[in-house]
Amino acid sequence: MSFKQIGAELKSTRRSALLKKFQGAFSERPIEPIEVEPSTLRRWTRRDVLLFGAGALATLAVGGSQLPRKLLNKALRLDDDVSTVLYSQHHLVPTYTKSQITPLKNNYNGPTPDPAYIPGWRLTLDGLSSGLAVSLDIEALLARHRIHDQITRLVCVEGWSAIAWWSGLRFDDLLHAYPPVSQAKWAYIESSVNLDANGNPDPYFVSIDLLTAQHPQTLLATHLNGKPLTVEHGAPLRLLVPVKLGLKNIKAITRITYTKDEPPDYWAKRGYSSYDGI
């Protein structure tokens, strides 16, 4: 056997040793029996486990049905905090092509309002740095601001979603044109034309944090799929905020008030999250 051969053999054994070591790291270790007191074996009898299991089941049933509201609220707040951390003003939501547009259903919780409100509709802005309230009609809004188009997905808390083509002015542009008071962190957005299940007036309102309002894809939408909004979709002006659940996308906005403290929210009062970031 030449030295060369010996060298090659050594190399291959070294390689296979390395391979074995690598495989060994993943392979099962032999199990070594350990000595215990024989009494240990008797400690856990079947009866003990059955009793223990019955107790655990009873605790589960009672605990599950009597789960403290506080704990559930805490989970909801934790989830809102996670959503807040995940939110980025620079992260744009995916946009779609016109061929991907899907039908959008009217999900007004009560009956759709009578369109009679539309001709006399005005938007009131409050909580401005000027200290004055401003009242605008739709022509004024459309004439003074650039209109942006976007095809984005509206995601409902119920689980359905729809891709639609929206046009409108950026909320951020309105914030620049009519700046809120300097300490403002929230927008309280209201629709006075909303109706409850019985058809009685039931103003709808949402809270929107200003960081979300400033997102480039947060629109005050005036058009859906290239046509002016119909009454079913919140004519003449609705919020389109694709980084929030659909329930924050308030239709037929009549008033925006900027506030320092978090304002109330229609669905948060009914047990849903108040942040609703998606």
Partner: protein
């Protein structure tokens, strides 16, 4: 007491050891693995029950409304069918919601179900980390890794289980394939896949929960609607896993069940381990 047997206590070589009785066991499951194993039961149950309540709000699988019942949801159809065919349910008040009344937290519970789902989901993620920590500290992960050479063993085990009813009916002695590892190849595959499914359930959950901020994750699962389908069928997989898991765990005997409570097993000869548990 003297019997007919000659006394030979002094000459018995094991005399010294006989005075100190001992029992041999092997460590099977790390404490953290055992804790997370049992905590999975209430958490998974809570997630399934609240998940079906959430599903009720907007079922993935819908059809055109049935002209007579008005139902568009297959779960509602199932409820109507059950109430029509089970004699004592003929007068059930709300057949369309029978499945939701019996297999979820209930219909019309979306806000509550969402909070409940978030609470269980965050705890399940924590539980998953505890499980992984237990596997790493105890070294148990090595026994769970499927091997390339497992394919034959998986088929052998599947054939054994599928043939078991016939073997029993034919009054033959079932011959269990022997494996010299902690788990048999089918077990290894099942436990590994269920852990991966747990990871995927969490990932698809986040994809549905944050389709805007985690849009990259939603895209991995083929978009928002497909992520919901994944999430739904992963639940189905857990239900399918649990049935044989419980049946075989009980059938395998007391030692197997006890080992998930105490951590040790008295089966330490290679021929004794990896029996029919799954």
């Amino acid at each position: 007491m003297s019997s007919g047997r000659p006394s030979c206590g002094e000459t018995m070589p094991t005399g010294a050891r006989a005075s100190k009785p001992r029992a041999l066991v092997v460590r099977r499951h790390h404490l953290l693995v055992r804790i997370s194993h049992w905590l999975t039961i209430p958490l998974l149950l809570g997630l399934i029950l609240s998940g079906i309540s959430i599903y009720w709000a907007s079922p993935i699988y819908q059809h055109d409304p049935n002209p007579t019942t008005g139902s568009f949801d297959y779960f509602a159809d199932a409820g109507i069918w059950i109430c029509a065919h089970i004699p004592w349910l003929h007068h059930y008040a709300d057949p369309a919601n029978w499945v939701y009344n019996h297999g979820s937290l209930g219909p019309y519970m979306l806000a509550f179900a969402l909070r409940f789902h978030w609470l269980c989901a965050y705890l399940l993620m924590l539980n998953g980390l505890v499980y992984l920590a237990g596997l790493c500290i105890g070294g148990g992960w090595r026994s769970l890794l499927p091997r390339l050479s497992d394919a034959r063993g998986v088929l052998q085990m599947a054939r054994y289980y599928l043939g078991l009813p016939y073997t029993i009916l034919a009054r033959r002695q079932p011959i269990h394939p022997n494996f010299r590892t902690k788990y048999n190849p089918l077990q290894r595959l099942a436990y590994f896949v269920v852990a991966v499914a747990g990871f995927l359930a969490v990932a698809t959950g986040w994809a549905i929960h944050k389709p805007a901020q985690l849009s990259w994750l939603t895209a991995i699962f083929g978009g928002f609607d497909n992520a919901r389908v994944w999430h739904f069928w992963l639940m189905g997989f857990f239900i399918v896993f649990v049935i044989p898991h419980v049946v075989l765990g009980v059938a395998d005997g007391w030692d197997t069940l006890r080992s998930m409570i105490t951590g040790w097993s008295t089966k330490f000869k290679r021929s004794e381990v990896s029996d029919h548990e799954l």
